[in-house]
């Protein structure tokens, strides 16, 4: 699972939920520390989360790239906005 860089002296879950933007559909959702994964409520894609502090986290990768590639194969090797 993705690394959590939060210093040990800081209590897990100390921060406010962090707003994140789904990398597949750009929909917004919130994730609270120390969740290691999150699912976008709009498109259902799962993401791994990396934390720096309980207030600062970001999406680092899809849960499984190979699955993601297969699932999004339908639109000719691209996401939204393709030629």
């Amino acid at each position: 699972m993705a690394r959590d860089y939060t210093p040990k002296r800081v209590k897990a879950g100390a921060g406010r939920p962090v707003a994140m933007r789904c990398k597949a559909c750009a929909g917004r959702f919130e994730v609270a520390h120390p969740a290691a994964t999150a699912t976008c409520p709009d498109c259902g894609e799962g993401w791994k989360i990396r934390w720096f502090t309980p207030d600062s986290g970001m999406i680092i990768a899809p849960l499984n790239w190979t699955d993601y590639q297969v699932r999004s194969r339908g639109s000719a090797a691209g996401g939204r906005g393709n030629a």
Binding site: R3, K23, I60, W65, Q69, A76, A77, G79, A83
Partner: protein
């Protein structure tokens, strides 16, 4: 308007002029203009490490603009590693700052009497002593220059100890991980006693239509960030390639003796992201942040931070050298960056030596005591250290693999997989026919950044590729049909992107939804006010490719040099696609078709009509009495050069 400067390092003089409008129109900038200048300023007799070699630095036409992906510049010169076309591009922040300092193109000739670095700032070019930088590695050199010039925003391109010691495959470094990597441009700088270029400027790059530029940037930003290709690179960077090569069975292993290994599960890019990536970094104005930065506890317990890695090193030291230990790979990667060594050649040479050792062609007597066992940490680091320190087997390979193969003899040259003297990359693309052709015909030697049709790996439906390339390309990578068109399309889009200073990760080279020549056209018009049609831009790609081809032909190359490595004609031994190989007759037919579409004759020499259409008749004048140079390798490994008079 930004300038071109001719810098005579021997005389310590600088002449500044404009970039000729004619060159802009025909070659745009970056690699395009560099290619033209190189062709005219050196010839087939120029010694790559001599003062007559010319080092060209060219920023792209759109570099530094508030656009998406205008980040790159090219170092171009005659290559000390391959002996012919040397050219390398890199991103980061150097190229943009060079343009802010007022210069788009530098022409560096001669050799400085004592080590110097160039300090280029706000329209001025100064020579500064560099001898005191001798003990520093490439990272320390950059920091030292920033400190002594007193501005933390200075950007530096520097060679490390490898370049200073004229290792023929030394590279030029910027930051901790941006490299003008291949073809030994670092050795050219070292041979000129030019140890770094430092740039800083507050000048404006002129934009013809600012409002339109903003519109174009916003549209392209939205287009790019919505594609799956962007998702792949923004998460995994170049390591995404390992996902493809591993899951589809062509990662290549043990110096290309196998197409698959069991090692690679540990070398999965998700493992890197989870365990070793400590930050992501971007090049100038690029939202992709594909660059990794890492922190690793090495085998000896030291905690090391650095930039990268890129897939070339992970595949290269990983499956190709039989190593599955990230700590070793990252240590080797960082060492090459700090010393200023090309990781492409470093990995290829190491794997080659390991196979030679395995086959008993070299022993500890040749290697200065190193046991070059597959995957061994001390072997991998030992080869690199010996190269920089000039001892053992490193002293041999520092002069390039061709000289090393000559010295070793015993058929050593047969185990090195290359095209035109440049090693192939870590993966094994014999099952991707357009990529085989691209590898074999790329102008600086085996290369994935000039001619490789990346999209071949995605099995795109024909209606998609037809729209892109102009003819339907079979979804099956194993088919040879129409693959010449895919290769030519790739060559042209890469040449144009390199001339614009654009990162190919944001182009259709990587993914169908990203930017294509049509989008380039919009950006060029908004930025420069010059309207190019899509056809004219594609013709720039043709022109650059043909100019590079003329350069190679003048060096004595022809069809015989447009061949994939010998190994590709043998079948894969592992995995579900065992048996895959390049069929010689099918490849020769594909090459014939490629030449025909390009307007070259059956020996791969550009025809008169083709050159005329591109305005290259003057450059093609030498074809009337060209010489063909043949390097003959006999069983003793000795080489004889046979010069034959021109065939028709």
């Amino acid at each position: 308007m930004n300038k071109m400067a001719v810098i005579d390092l021997t005389a310590r003089t600088v002449e500044v002029g404009g970039v000729p409008e004619d060159l802009r129109r025909r070659f745009l900038g970056g690699r395009g203009i560099n290619t033209h200048l190189l062709f005219h300023m050196v010839d087939e007799w120029t010694d790559p490490l001599g003062p007559e070699n010319v080092l060209l630095l060219g920023a792209g036409l759109l570099t530094g603009l508030p656009w998406v992906g205008g980040t790159r510049c090219n170092f171009t010169a005659k290559s000390p590693e391959t002996g012919h076309l040397g050219d390398s591009a890199a991103g980061g922040h150097f190229a943009a700052e060079l343009r802010f300092a007022g210069f788009d193109h530098l022409v560096m000739k001669g050799r400085a009497e004592r080590p110097v670095y160039l300090w280029i700032h706000d329209g001025r070019i100064e020579f500064r002593n560099a001898a005191h930088l001798e003990p520093l590695n490439s990272v320390e050199t950059q920091n030292a220059i920033k400190a002594e010039l007193g501005d933390v925003k200075i950007q530096v391109a520097a060679i490390g100890p490898a370049g200073r010691r004229l290792v023929r495959w030394a590279c030029v470094m910027h930051g901790v991980g941006d490299a003008w990597g291949r073809t030994g441009m670092g050795a050219v700088m070292g041979s000129k006693n030019l140890w770094a270029v430092a740039v800083r400027g507050n000048g404006a790059i002129p934009v013809a239509d600012p409002a339109r530029m903003m519109e174009v940037t916003q549209a392209h930003y939205a287009q790019i960030t919505g594609t799956k290709g962007f998702l792949a690179t923004s998460n995994y960077g170049t390591l995404i390639r390992l996902n493809n090569t591993r899951t589809q069975g062509y990662e290549g292993g043990f110096n290309h003796q196998q197409n698959m290994t069991e090692l690679s599960a540990e070398l999965d890019s998700d493992v890197f992201l989870d365990k070793y990536e400590s930050a992501k970094a971007s090049c100038f104005n690029c939202p992709t942040h594909c660059r990794h930065q890492h922190e690793v506890v090495l085998r000896d317990g030291t905690r090391k931070r650095g930039g990268g890695p890129e897939y070339y090193g992970v595949g290269g030291w990983g499956s190709q050298c039989g190593c599955s230990d990230w700590r070793t790979i990252l240590e080797a990667w960082d060492y090459c960056n700090e010393m200023g060594l090309d990781t492409g050649s470093a990995t290829a040479y190491t794997a080659w030596l390991m196979e030679l050792y395995e086959k008993g062609i070299i022993t500890e007597a040749d290697t200065g005591g190193l046991a070059l066992k597959w995957g061994d940490h001390d072997a991998i680091m030992g080869v690199l250290r010996q190269t920089v320190e000039g001892r053992g087997i490193g002293a041999l390979i520092a002069g390039g693999w061709m000289a090393a193969a000559r010295d070793i003899g015993r058929g050593a040259h047969r185990y090195f997989d290359h095209v035109k003297g440049l090693s192939i990359e870590c993966d094994d693309v014999r099952g991707h026919r357009a990529q085989v052709l691209g590898l074999a015909t790329a102008s600086r030697g085996a290369d994935h950044l000039r001619s490789r049709f990346t999209l071949e790996e995605f099995s795109l439906p024909e209606k998609v590729t037809e729209k892109l390339v102009g003819v339907p390309i079979p979804a099956d990578a194993l088919s040879y049909e129409n693959k010449e068109h895919a290769c030519i399309w790739t060559e042209n889009i890469c040449a144009v992107a390199d001339a614009l200073g654009m990162c190919k990760f944001l182009t259709k080279w990587l993914s169908v939804g990203l930017l294509g020549v049509g989008e380039f056209r919009d950006a060029i018009e908004a930025a420069t006010g010059t309207a190019f049609s899509v056809e004219e831009l594609v013709r720039v790609g043709d022109r650059v490719t043909n100019m590079e081809r003329l350069f190679l032909v003048r060096e004595g190359m022809s069809r015989k040099d447009d061949a994939p490595p010998e190994k590709f004609y043998r079948p894969w031994t592992h995995g579900p696609r065992a048996g895959t190989r390049v069929e010689p007759e099918a490849y020769e037919a594909l090459l014939d078709r490629y030449y025909a579409v390009r307007g070259w004759d059956r020996k791969g020499i550009p025809g008169g009509e083709t050159l005329r259409a591109l305005g290259l008749e003057k450059e093609g004048a030498f074809l009337a009495d060209r010489r063909e140079v043949r390097f003959v390798w006999n069983d003793a490994g000795k080489e004889g050069a046979v010069h034959a008079a021109a065939q028709g």
